[in-house]
Symmetry: C2
């Protein structure tokens, strides 16, 4: 499988740049420099230029970037020029929180189903979604064209849910369960650690206190 070697940090920043460009575009701004993007999102101008350089030549020296063009291009790079339907597995506290989290229903993303195997949860409404039993998954995957699965079940059930997603043709998995899952190579999978930024906080506080080690 041929994949472009772009650092994930670059992709993450590209996502942030595209949100900034959306805001500029909404405000009627037509041209932007790498310096303005840098200031708008809090990185260095050199970083912006380096990140964009992964994807070809953009902008005109001394003039900057056309906002609409660059926005359209960044969205295309991010794969957001097409719709993505998601399914959330697990209608416990985390699943509920994710169902109403705006980040999963913006841009090209759309939560198309929420599933659980707990009879006390099945049929419950979360916004305009109704919690479905797992055996409805194969049918809803097809009718809603679900391509991404989100795992918000306990560790003990996470692998089983991942297997079900793979079996039903999902292409990507976002895993909130704190466990490493086995999936075939053709499945894109990323784990979300809710606590990972805690140690960035303590690192910074520690350094302030110590000044040096």
């Amino acid at each position: 499988m041929k994949t472009l070697r772009v650092p994930e940090a670059t992709v993450t920043r590209l996502s942030i740049y595209s949100r900034f460009l959306e805001r500029l575009d909404k405000n009627g701004v037509t041209t932007v420099s790498s310096g303005e993007i840098a200031e708008g999102v809090g990185v260095s101008p050199a970083q912006v230029r380096k990140d964009l350089a992964y994807f070809g030549e953009f902008g005109t020296r001394g003039v900057g970037y056309n906002v609409k063009d660059l926005l359209k291009y960044t969205l295309k790079i991010l794969g957001l020029d097409q719709p993505w339907s998601l399914a959330i597995f697990g209608a416990g506290n985390l699943g509920f929180a994710l169902c109403t989290y705006r980040g999963f229903n913006i841009r090209s993303f759309h939560i198309a189903g929420v599933f659980d195997n707990d009879p006390t949860r099945i049929g419950k409404k979360i916004g305009n979604l109704e919690v479905q039993p797992l055996d409805k998954f194969p049918e809803i995957v097809k009718s809603e064209n679900i391509r991404i699965g989100v795992i918000a079940v306990p560790v003990s059930a996470a692998q089983e849910v991942a297997d079900l997603m793979v079996k039903n043709g999902l292409e990507a998995i976002l895993n909130f369960a704190p466990v490493a899952l086995n999936v075939p190579d053709h499945i894109e999978i990323r784990n979300v650690d809710l606590s990972v930024k805690l140690e960035i906080l303590t690192f910074n506080l520690g350094f302030r206190a110590a000044q040096n080690l």
Copy 2:
């Protein structure tokens, strides 16, 4: 305020290295090379060496690193050679999920209080914690030596909660509300976007499909 200019990506990896070193130490491994660390966590050996070089000279050429020493040192760098008590604000679905999330109760971290202003939630038990009203916060901050606040309230209440944290002397804030908060410069604050990795998935899938733009 003097702070060391270390990229957050480096700090994040340092946190990952230290977890790997903990595992090695538990398994009785005493020496490790940068190549072994690299393979264990999925980055390049050059990246490991570059990351560690921010903090001084480690290891012996041809011999590698002493696991216990490097672990101790990375924990110290991360500020984890001291205890950190957390308070979680918001006992809704997300707050509940965070209270039981193991990442907030490992290593040096300990959830010492959960707060909400909703009378239907106050007094409820989450594990061995009882949801407290906001006006108990000043007293519990002191008795539990709480230093980090976690915001899991709706956007509309997030700034007010941040102000309360600052007023009561917290040093750092982890913010799950999708809104930018104003806090004084001496407060360390980081936002957690639960959906940010979605676009890494679609980026990778898009590139596979297109092979090139």
